[in-house]
């Protein structure tokens, strides 16, 4: 038997260089998106500053666009860190908004009861997505591509069957609407800009998601599950539960957007939320989240959504034909992925 080795613990390791907070920031996944936001803001401020981009009113418009995507992007970013996709969120927005509106307008439910029903419905839908992904073992990209069309088709079919139309309005005459409007669709006026309350929802949810991700067991599991599901399972992480929970949270986030939009527009359209799934993924990827999972942040998705909002509204302020928006967006995704790859390699390499 060998003698116990005494280990001398040095007070501080001489190999440790003091890492400045700035250097630490360089290793964060959201760095690219923060720098990108500044660049995009500077660009539109110089190009479209005089036409109102930098005014409070201009800021309020792009923040609202960013918020209504950002709420979704936060949930999608957690799901992506866990290594999964949800392409069906666009259809869930359409389905939940329509469900809530039909229940209130056609069947006379109190709006809060209808909202509750829509939330329960989205939990079930999210569970269905997650369960299907886990049980079939198919890539979630394929599974939710399927459910994207199924949910949309069912929404259109059922809505037409019940109401004979594809748009249903009149939500503002339903019991409880005023409180719902105050909570989901009101404005706060600051310096002449009407800031949508959805911005507040967005920021609060971002803070909550960041806390969950970085400061809870569940957050640690999200990273683990996305980084290596088998390794995580071996150390006792309930992989299926983590993934299904995140699918459910993503569906709830989609429903929250559906509620905000239904209340704001006082009705629903079966096509609402179309293409949101792609925009959400774009915001999340621009935000520095790794497509293959295991790396990223909710804060990144906030800046990704912010860039999306600034570009979408900035183009209008700059009086460029809005047709060019998609070109901007697509190019930005490509640049973001290249930057992300570089940042990730830095993180892996010994600093």
């Amino acid at each position: 038997m060998p003698a116990t080795q005494t280990t001398i613990v040095p007070a501080s390791d001489e190999r440790v260089r003091r890492v400045s907070p700035f250097k630490r920031l360089l290793g964060r996944p959201e760095l690219g998106a923060i720098a990108g936001s500044m660049l995009v803001w500077l660009f539109f401020a110089s190009v479209a500053g005089r036409s109102g981009f930098i005014s409070a009113a201009g800021t309020a418009t792009y923040l609202q666009v960013a918020a209504e995507l950002g709420i979704l992007a936060i949930a999608v970013s957690l799901l992506m860190i866990a290594g999964e996709f949800d392409l069906s969120v666009g259809s869930i927005i359409g389905a939940s908004g329509m469900l809530m509106t039909i229940l209130s307008v056609t069947y006379g439910f109190n709006i809060w009861l209808a909202i509750l029903a829509a939330l329960v419905f989205s939990l079930l839908i999210g569970f269905f997505n997650g369960y299907l992904v886990i049980k079939t073992g198919l890539p979630s990209f394929i599974v939710t591509l399927g459910t994207l069309f199924i949910f949309r088709g069912v929404t259109i079919g059922v809505t037409r069957l019940i109401t004979g139309r594809t748009q249903v309005g009149g939500l503002n005459e339903v019991a409880g609407y005023n409180l719902a409007h105050a909570l989901f669709a009101s404005d706060i006026t600051i310096g002449g800009g009407h800031f949508s309350v959805s911005i507040l929802w967005w920021l609060v949810l971002a803070a909550l998601a960041t806390w969950v991700l970085l400061r809870t067991r569940f957050g640690n599991w999200i990273f683990g599950v996305g980084g290596d599901p088998n390794a995580s399972r071996n150390v006792g992480v309930p992989v299926a539960r983590v993934k299904i929970t995140l699918f459910m949270m993503t569906a709830v986030a989609a429903t929250l957007i559906a509620i905000i939009q239904a209340v704001a527009f006082s009705g629903a359209d079966v096509l609402r939320g179309d293409q949101r799934e792609f925009f959400a993924i774009i915001a999340v990827v621009i935000g520095g989240n790794l497509l293959t999972g295991g790396y990223g942040s909710a804060i990144g998705s906030v800046f990704g959504a912010l860039i999306f909002g600034m570009v979408r509204q900035g183009i209008v302020f700059a009086r460029v034909d809005a047709d060019w928006f998609q070109v901007f967006l697509g190019s930005m995704v490509l640049i973001a992925v290249l930057v992300n790859n570089y940042v990730r390699k830095r993180a892996i390499r010994a600093r």
Binding site: M1, P2, A3, T4, Q5, T7, V9, P10, D13, R15, V16, V19, W211, L214, R215, T216, R217, G219, N220, W221, F223, G224, G227, D228, N230, A231, S232, N234, V235, G236, V237, L290, G294, Y295, R344, A347, I348, R349, A350, R351
Partner: protein, 294 residues
């Protein structure tokens, strides 16, 4: 040496079949506290199957398994872990993009606070990770650095430290040194010695005798699903272990073949020398003709 104490884990006459394939036949093995048992064998000897039985991935078909004298039947790796049997696999179960301390506590995160405010105690995780690693003699530069930035040996060491911290009484190490350079392998061997000194029973699986012999107290040699038996270090030399690992007779056969090669090489060399002579002589046509007729 430790015959009077109850072994931490013991298997008696264990067999494992996959359909009509006999993966393990009549294997017996025991490890007591503070012992390193080296499980040696060539590829396909059944080492992997045996550790999978020990770690609860597979269930044995016949024979008995005892943990601290009590018969057990593991139903899952989790089950084995709860009995204090921890396995560090070759692929390590570490997530490269996650930090050292997050990896260390993955699946068993310490929490603080209550109710909805219950949170992952990051400070405690960092402190414990640093402490546990320094107990093993590893000074980590920064517990927030990604595991992907560590060397192979450091990763092994973190995995070993983690298993010990979470109450492993028996540590099963699956080829921990096989992918490492000489220096790194010796670092890992030192951690195995540390673990032994802390009273942990170690099962060290390897096919490298040069790694096993210096550290092992006992050697169990597997060949084609069967055991050649267990030998205490005092009773066996390094060369004998090598011979048994390769399958004694086969090795004899091999050395016989090699001698044969050497003989035929000699014959060939002789022939070549002869041909050289002939070529020299070839300048004289008459001699060449003579040589040919010969």
């Amino acid at each position: 040496m430790n015959n009077n104490q109850t072994p931490l884990i013991e298997v008696q006459n264990i067999s494992k079949y996959f359909g009509n394939v006999i993966a393990l036949e009549d294997i017996s093995l025991k490890v007591s506290a503070g012992e390193v048992m080296c499980l040696l064998g060539d590829n396909g000897a059944g080492k992997s199957t045996l550790i999978k039985v020990l770690s609860g991935v597979h269930q044995h078909d016949t024979g008995h398994m005892l943990v601290e004298g009590k018969e057990v039947h593991f139903t899952s790796p989790r089950d084995a872990l709860e009995h204090g049997i921890a396995t560090v696999y070759q692929d390590l179960a570490m997530i490269p993009l996650m930090s050292v301390s997050r990896n260390f506590f993955l699946g068993s995160e310490p929490t603080t606070g209550w109710g909805p405010f219950r949170r992952f105690d990051v400070e405690l995780a960092d402190r414990v990770t640093r402490q546990e690693l320094s107990k093993m003699g590893i000074e980590i530069r920064d517990t927030a650095q990604a595991v992907g930035t560590l060397s192979g040996g450091e990763r092994q060491s973190v995995a070993i430290a983690r298993a010990i911290y979470f109450g492993a009484k028996v540590l099963i190490l699956d080829e921990p040194t096989s992918a490492l350079g000489v220096k790194e392998a010796s670092v890992v061997l030192r951690y195995i010695a540390q673990a032994r000194a802390r009273g942990i029973g170690v099962i060290f699986i390897t096919h490298n005798v040069h790694h096993a012999y210096p550290i092992g107290d006992y050697f169990t040699i597997l060949n084609r699903g069967r055991s050649y038996g267990t030998f205490a270090k005092a009773d066996v030399t390094r060369e004998e272990v090598v011979a048994m690992m390769a399958g004694g007779e086969e090795l004899q056969e091999l050395s016989h073949e090699l001698e044969e090669f050497a003989r035929s090489d000699k014959a060939l060399a002789g022939k070549l020398a002869e041909m050289g002579h002939e070529l020299e002589n070839a300048t004289q046509p008459a001699a060449t003709i003579q040589a040919r007729t010969e």
